[in-house]
């Protein structure tokens, strides 16, 4: 029984250390690493694991501490905890407090941030649908003929919105009813191939639900704005999603078309390199380098190892605790 309790105290300490590692050094290292640009998909899996395990380990450490003194193992202790509340010691109360505070805070921020983003998206979609030309209109036919070689693979027209606006603009409004928005300026400035590449890129965002991969990290940064790692994590995940979409566009239309699109829309937007555009300049440079000299994807064993590490990070702590 005492050995059991000692195991759980150790478990709580390990989880606390894990929470600390996942909050600072691990995301910093993953953000600095060069291999994610070679294979964005396993890298994104690792980021999801870091985010999920990081979010669970802190309240998990508190709960484990709370049941340590009960001598019934982890699962049994959790079940018995409510009945024994009046008799548990200070350590259990501290653990409960930590679990409750961390758990509630993370849950509240996750829910409110997802809600805010969904509301803003909904509002923008409603305004956009009123502004975009009726479909299929004469302008829409333009986009279709322009989409040229990738015509067979262009987004379904229900998803496409053409906006009568002179500046080249292209973006994806993700969701259950996604919108891919292209301005007349983009159609005028881009070659047919480049436009097809832009559409393929945005369609990859919409199809792959990249917004769902990014959302936890928006919540994370909101929950811990003082953690530099949270900002680094968000920027890395966003850039990896861009690379994933670039890869899809390359497969559909070739790197030359995508490079031309990046240069046209890029030049327009990056003419003045001030403030927030500096980040965009760095991002553009990385994406262009990836197109001009594509890095070798991770060999299969390395990619498998990355997925395995991601799975282990999420599954190991609860599995070990359940055995305790």
């Amino acid at each position: 029984m005492t050995a059991d309790a000692a195991d759980l105290y150790t478990g709580a300490a390990v989880l606390a250390v894990l929470a600390l590692l996942l909050a600072v050094p691990v995301p910093a290292a993953l953000a600095r690493a060069r291999w994610p640009a070679r294979s964005p998909r396993p890298a994104l899996a690792c980021w999801q694991a870091v985010g999920l395990a990081g979010g669970l380990s802190l309240p998990g450490a508190g709960l484990t501490l709370a049941v340590s003194g009960l001598g019934r193992g982890w699962a049994g202790g959790l079940a018995a905890l409510p009945g024994q509340l009046p008799d548990v010691g200070a350590a259990s109360w501290a653990g409960l407090l930590l679990a409750g505070a961390a758990g509630l805070w993370l849950a509240a921020v996750t829910i409110t941030s997802a809600w805010r983003v969904a509301a803003a998206r909904h509002a923008h979609r409603a305004r956009l649908d009123l502004a975009a030309g009726s479909w299929p209109g004469p302008a829409a036919e333009d986009a279709r003929t322009h989409a040229g070689p990738a015509g067979g693979r262009r987004p379904p027209s229900g998803m496409l919105r053409l906006v009568d606006y002179p500046i080249p603009v292209a973006y994806c409004l993700p969701g259950l009813r996604p919108r891919i928005v292209v301005s007349q300026g983009a159609i005028a400035d881009l070659s047919p191939d480049a436009l097809a590449a832009v559409l393929a890129h945005e369609q990859a965002h919409a199809r792959g639900r990249h917004d769902v991969l990014i959302q936890p990290f928006i919540a994370w940064r909101q929950a811990f704005p003082f953690l530099p790692a949270a900002g680094q994590a968000l920027r890395s995940v966003e850039l990896l999603a861009e690379m994933l979409a670039d890869d899809a566009a390359c497969r559909a239309c070739g790197p030359a078309a995508l490079r031309s699109a990046l240069q046209h829309i890029g030049d327009e937007h990056l003419a003045t390199g001030t403030g927030t555009t500096r980040t965009a300049t760095a991002e553009l440079a990385q994406r262009e380098t990836r197109l001009t000299s594509p890095p070798n994807p991770l060999p299969l064993p390395a990619a498998t190892a990355a997925y395995a590490a991601a799975a282990a990070l999420i599954l190991l702590p609860p599995a070990l605790l359940a055995l305790a």
Binding site: R116, V117, A120, R121, H124, R127, L128, D129, L130, A131, A132, G133, S134, V163, D164, Y165, I167, V169, A170, Y171, C172, L173, P174, V181, S183, V198, H201, E202, H205, H210, D211, I214, Q215, I218, E238, A241, E242, A245, A261, L262, I265, G266, E268, H269, L270, A271, T272, T274, T276, T277, T279, A280, T281, E283, L284
Partner: protein, 120 residues
Amino acid sequence: MADRGHLEQAVLHTLWERPGGLTARELIDALEGRQPAMTTVLTVLDRLARKGLVVRTGDLRPRRYVATTPREEYIAQVMLDALGRAPDRAAVLSRFLGGVSEADTHHLRRSLRRKPRNDG
């Protein structure tokens, strides 16, 4: 739902083309394709009015409906919403390239300041 959205869009686009405004009857006649019922059009106009995009003018019946915001200005507002620097913007939608330059924002602001047309 999709149909109602299409009608809302068609009504707004028709009113954008007639800065002087239209009565509900004239509006129905101006719509292309299958003509909707009067009650349907009045409901759509009511919804557009609640969004602040359409106002009813005049005391005499039939009332005229006028678009409050010219088309270019409305589109510029939506684009500013998409390209602007609101902290959540990158979360809400993913732009082909993350940043937006001063020049773009200036262009957008300028087109927003442009006076609405008074002709018609």
